[in-house]
Symmetry: C2
Subunit: 313 residues, 2 copies
């Protein structure tokens, strides 16, 4: 009976792995399983990958042992992770949101993006960056009319010595006055409240926008349910995202937060840094509103901020 006889041969023919080098992986117990998984992974030819999986398996197994995780809880986790993947799309990244709310994103950011003294600090990217922002010229608006209270943003991009960095690419994105990013609207037709611009020869930049407001992270999915179970609010303080790329400088992913926001010290995703909190000025001068290009004659918020990039080492 072929099916009971030829399997040894099939194994040799079909695979490069020498079975004799593998551990005698049988009769696994909660004590022996971890070392055995490591031994099974020992043929990995990439030392970095092997090291990462060693740490991952140790911590996953320790977590299960430490919590005496039940089969039912394991199944809840499987379903939670599956749903977190399924709800993600080109314009929604629930796993990033999960990483954000568990502090993992901020940890990864703090370890990878430490800036030298004098440089603008970084913060988490968040799940709302998109690649399709329109290019805007200096002074143009990144937001379409009616999306919120007017805000004018300007400043310079410089190096640590204060020297202008021309032609730096600034990506900026924010919520509208309802606390929603464009991608959160079912009927999104294109980018809004986001734009890409370049600094001038003197490092200066300027654009019109709207005043972003504090907002709940998307809470109609698995992460929202998790936050509810944890008794946590889902709000982020209002902020304007900024990402800057310039040749010869470390890229900067950061955001500006607004003084007085009640969520500054309990950001759902742990992203606030004191150095990134700004206090916009309210401009009542309607002539200035007009000269800055705002359509309606009403006050606007004025936000002046310089970004300082670290040189590439």
């Amino acid at each position: 009976m072929q099916s009971l006889e030829n399997s040894t041969e099939r194994a040799k023919v079909k695979h490069g792995v020498d079975l004799s080098k593998l551990p005698r992986n049988m009769n696994m117990t909660s004590d022996s399983i971890t070392a055995n998984v490591h031994e099974m992974n020992a043929n990995c030819d990439n030392e970095r990958t092997k090291f990462i999986f060693q740490s991952l398996v140790n911590h996953l197994h320790d977590f299960v042992r430490e919590t005496s995780l039940t089969t039912e809880e394991w199944m809840i986790a499987i379903n939670f992770l599956t749903e977190t993947g399924k709800i993600s799309s080109d314009i929604r990244q629930e796993f990033i949101l999960l990483s954000d709310t568990l502090g993992v994103s901020t940890l990864v950011d703090s370890m990878n993006n430490a800036k030298p003294p004098g440089a603008t600090e970084s913060t988490v990217l968040g799940p709302f960056f998109t690649e399709d922002a329109h290019d805007v010229e200096k002074g143009d608006s990144i937001a379409s009319e009616g999306k919120g209270d007017y805000m004018y943003v300007e400043g310079r991009v410089t190096d640590i010595q204060g020297r202008a960095i021309p032609n730096a690419v600034i990506d900026t994105w924010e919520t509208d006055g309802h606390g929603l990013y464009d991608t959160q609207y079912d009927e999104r037709v294109g980018p809004d409240c986001r734009g890409r611009l370049r600094t001038a020869e003197d490092g200066s930049y300027a654009f019109r926008a709207v005043v972003p407001v504090s907002y709940p992270i998307p809470n109609d999915g698995p992460v929202g349910r998790m936050m509810s179970k944890l008794g946590r609010h889902v709000f982020r303080p209002a902020h304007l995202h900024v990402q800057i790329h310039a040749l010869g400088y470390e890229s900067l992913t950061t955001a500006l937060f607004f003084k007085g926001d009640p969520y500054l010290t309990s950001d759902a995703v742990f992203g606030v840094k004191a150095s990134l909190i700004i206090e916009p000025e309210i401009v009542e001068d309607l002539a200035l509103s007009k000269s800055r290009g705002f359509k309606e004659a009403k006050p606007h918020a004025y936000l002046k901020h310089d970004f300082v990039l670290a040189s590439v080492a």
Copy 2:
């Protein structure tokens, strides 16, 4: 300007969480983030959930710190997890497969399903169980004609004292002779190589099946790519899955493995236990093949095994 003024009020009105009780979550560093996430989760009113997340966050963060995980590696993980969710469906569970291949499923099984001496040992469920198996009568076949070499399975379900357990529900499922479960065929029209039966008054059961063969776990998705990067083969030794439910007894999820299979000691999902390895007899007596109901006059494998259930404590 409303958007810059009313946020404190919104926070109080909209949420039950007392912001004054939260930590001063700002300026997070790789040292301070972990304690801060715990403090943010401290309002969780379910002690078990709180404990699980405490352990989870500790281990996740320790993993990131221990590996000095780069932003690029973090993004690879985000994409991997997302894809693992997206490829899962009603008939494919890639997260269970991930759990299986990292030894987590076996660990959870060993911690939750320890059986008393004398009872049949458990092993992992795997991702191929379905709810839609047909009921089969004693001696009927769970496999349609032509799915593989014939196999006749029979035995009894008893308690530890050897007393018959009548009316126990046995779910059984297996690969066909090509090493594929019915759910792995695009054109699956219904259950095959799986069935549900009940033990008779004397605890006996019998059914016709096919000889399962060793097979690769689904390797066309993210878990398959992971296994390849780890230099691991993706094979499981041939086995027949059995799950038994009976009133007053602990449910049993187990499988029978076949002596001589080359993958018995390197099962890709760490599920083999020595007590579950059986050696079927090859029956050359064609009259017996006929009397057992096989259609073609050819030899069949004969597998006799009793399952012993532990009483509910």
